[in-house]
Amino acid sequence: MSRVVLLDNEAVHALADPAHPKHRRVISHAVVVTRRKARAVPVSIAVPSAVRVEAGWDRTAPAWAFINRLRIADIPLDASHADAAAALRTRTRVSVADAHLGAIVRASNQVTVLTSDPGGMHLVAEGKPIEVVTL
């Protein structure tokens, strides 16, 4: 079973910016994912597109070159995710980015979220068991 490691806004900035105080912490998770991939363990890192918008992560901008190269997949806000996120946002009043995260959590089997807002992640998970790593 494949595990997906999701980044929130803070995790994106921490990973992208070597001067960020949590940079090495998020790099550590990227290294562990890399090591597992090398052993053919099914694991990936991904970012919800709504989080990418919130973080200002423009893949065409040179400032994001490092993080662009780390094979972090976009998870688009497609129709089914939009429906789930909209319903979640109505119930919980969370941000659009967090609602998209929650929609992905609902649709995934094994999820780890790197976040500065563990309470918010548990809120959008709505009881689904996930691993939340507090930055």
């Binding site: 090495r24 790099i27 998770h29 990227a30 090591r35 090398a38 094979r71 790593v133």
Partner: protein, 137 residues
Amino acid sequence: MTDYQVIDRINELLDSTDDQTVNTSMRIPAALRDAAALAVNELDLAPSTTVLTANALRAALEAAVMQAVLDRHYEEHPDARPTLADLAIAAAELDGHPLAGQPGLLRQSAAEVQQRHPEAGPEDVLLWAEARTSAAA
């Protein structure tokens, strides 16, 4: 081509949605081919040996390109390189390991393991820490 141009090109190719296939002249050991065929046919490891081979190659390339990016990042930013303890903590956190909430124990275990085994990995540290915990219980 510079290293980054190579990395970017590999990433482009890995991200390609073009599902065109090619016959290759790649030669692999016959025994490896036979083992793969058995694993596919008898153990349902993958839908076909082609899928098995392609998936393994993709995983290896993804790991290699990520490691290449990280290595170049460390050259430019040496402080970004995680310690063995950092990696052990991250490995525990990713899976919700019971010791994820004990970073002090993991840091101590990393120091102990590294003294005896300089090439140890984060999973070795977790195993050591688990052993210490159960021995102390």
